[in-house]
Amino acid sequence: MTAPIPPSLNGRRDRDPFWVAVSAVFGGIHRVRRLRQPVLPPVRPVERDLAMVVREVRREAADVVSLRLAAADGRVLPAWQPGCHLDVLLPSGRRRQYSLCGDPADRRTYRIAVRALPAGAGGSVEAHGLAEGDALRVRGPRNAFPFLAGERYLFLAGGIGITAILPMVHAAARAGADWRLVYTGRSRTTLPFLDELPAERVTVRTDDVDGVPDCAELLSLAAPGTAVYCCGPAAMIDGVRAAFPAGTGSTLHFERFAPAPIVDGKPFEIELRGSGVVLPVPADRSALDVLREAVPGVAYSCRQGFCGTCRVGLVAGHADERAVSDADESGLLVCVSRASGGRLTLDL
């Protein structure tokens, strides 16, 4: 309580009597309470991981397999809703998120589907190597793509994006809503779950037959007041976002994947002032990604540079590749801003 008591609202007194009184009462209570050493309950760790076993592996399309997972001890699994995903910890330690694409009424197994991306970071190839009986740990389910009650839906699914959309389609059909699905991909052989979709209300649109889809054309299927749910490659989601018409009463829903990949980043170093530890930041990772591993409990939230919660003081160094939203030179939004080389000393 070092700051001076503020002046009164009408400016006639230097110290507002109300705050003098509040400070006195508040300070008094605290002085009395401080006479006793506090006894705090211990914090009990909460284990959220579920031990699972692969029960079934099925090929669903040219390069897609589905995995049916059950609890290792056979117990009932936590409930989920359309749009939920699972965090899967692969045996190598990689952590990947997959949409749940089974039936929410099935409380004994979860189903996920994975497309093999040989050029990816290795998670999908590893998931494709899993066999019946293999053990996995998962966390969740969690929902970053909530499906809301409505009367009219347009579902847009691109390739493996059908996994998030499939349970929504079934829920909409069960609820008797007016819905349509446009399912896009390279060719029919690459599209999983075609056999699980009803024939009517579904338009399958493949590049080899129909050419690359035009987002405005897809959205023209949405009558005013339609809830549009879109899941697919980033380019498709961006296209739909850009083409989405305003003022029609229609609403747009997509899964907001956290940060966009870093392009044209250059490696640099960060030094933590408190410990003197120096950490290299590679070209394809943010300073926040590196800090999260090194400093437990580091604060951040949006990872896109707008909320400001990850801002740390910049003690030394020149951050010459700042995000537009990060103009204040005294600090650094570690989620988006970086340097083109050299070392930044952070107040951590």
Partner: protein
């Protein structure tokens, strides 16, 4: 056609939304012809920026103590949403100043409370942790009210009927909807770290006392400083007797029973308000939809 029945959404991943508001066309008395009701709601604009920045600081301090991955993710989502709330309400305060309503003296007092009285007291060790827990218990009590008020504003049709400014209503309802969306986080954090009942009750007592005092003082100040009212009408809590039943502001009939629910040992914030309604508003909110594009 019947509206499909779905379960109340659960297990939500909390994410901040990058919203922006254009205040230039918003009138000073955004409930037309009713400066009294306008300023009863405006008091919240004066309290929220400093208060929500304080939430972010306190929760950031608590993060390293959390031993539950899922709660940690919830807290991270919560602080992002609160930080955007604080800066959005700050925009309203600048707009007040542009219209000749100088709110700085009151804001200075609010900042004194959050930054000094409730700030970092330089205590360490067990006492530092006790002070952290105490502030979290206060935030949990305040967040009970923000959830209840968020639910109120989402359903306050009287404001639409009164012709309230749509940009202001969108700010309040976007904010209210996110408060409903994350209403469990502060209580969950308190229960995870501390969880004792008596401090919860004490925190609610302190919160109610200060909320009433600040609402009274804030309203009196706004009515006095408003260049168009010119002090002709004296502000104060007694105005709630008209504006509450008229549906233009929250009422005691709303808040008092909610306090009784909070004081139950088995209180759950999920019982206050509807996640489905909040998400439905966020799906149609002009500001939140614009943030998606």
């Amino acid at each position: 056609m019947t509206t499909p029945r779905l379960h109340e959404p659960d297990n939500l991943v909390l994410q901040a939304r990058d919203v922006h508001f254009d205040w230039s066309a918003v009138p000073l008395h955004w409930i037309p012809g009713d400066p009294v009701a306008t300023h009863l709601v405006n008091v919240l604009h004066l309290l929220l920026p400093a208060g929500e920045e304080w939430f972010v600081r306190v929760f950031t301090e608590a993060l390293p103590l959390v031993r539950d991955e899922r709660l940690r993710e919830d807290v991270l989502g919560f602080i992002g949403q609160e930080a955007v709330h604080a800066s959005s309400h700050d925009g309203v305060l600048d707009h007040f100043a542009a219209q000749g309503l100088d709110v700085r003296p009151f804001v200075r007092q609010v900042e004194f409370m959050f930054e000094s009285l409730l700030g970092d007291r330089g205590v360490t060790g067990e006492r530092g942790r006790a002070w952290l827990y105490e502030r979290i218990s206060l935030i949990a009590a305040i967040e009970h009210f923000t959830g209840v008020l968020g639910d109120w504003i989402l359903n306050a049709e009287a404001l639409d009927r009164a012709g309230a400014d749509p940009t202001m209503l969108d700010l309040l309802r976007w904010h209210g909807a996110e408060e409903v969306e994350h209403r469990h986080v502060a209580h969950d954090l308190y229960m995870h770290l501390d969880g004792r009942y008596v401090p919860r009750v004490r925190a609610m007592g302190e919160t109610v006392t200060m909320l009433l005092a600040l609402w009274q003082r804030g309203h009196r100040y706004l009515m006095w400083a408003d260049p168009q009212v010119g002090g002709r009408v004296k502000g104060g809590l007694h105005h709630f007797r008209r504006t509450g039943p008229a549906g233009l502001t929250p009422s005691g009939r709303l808040l008092l029973p909610s306090i009784r629910r909070y004081l139950r040992r088995d209180y759950s914030p999920l019982g206050e308000g509807s996640t489905e309604q909040a998400l439905a508003y966020l799906a149609s909110s002009p500001a939140a939809q614009a943030a998606l594009r």
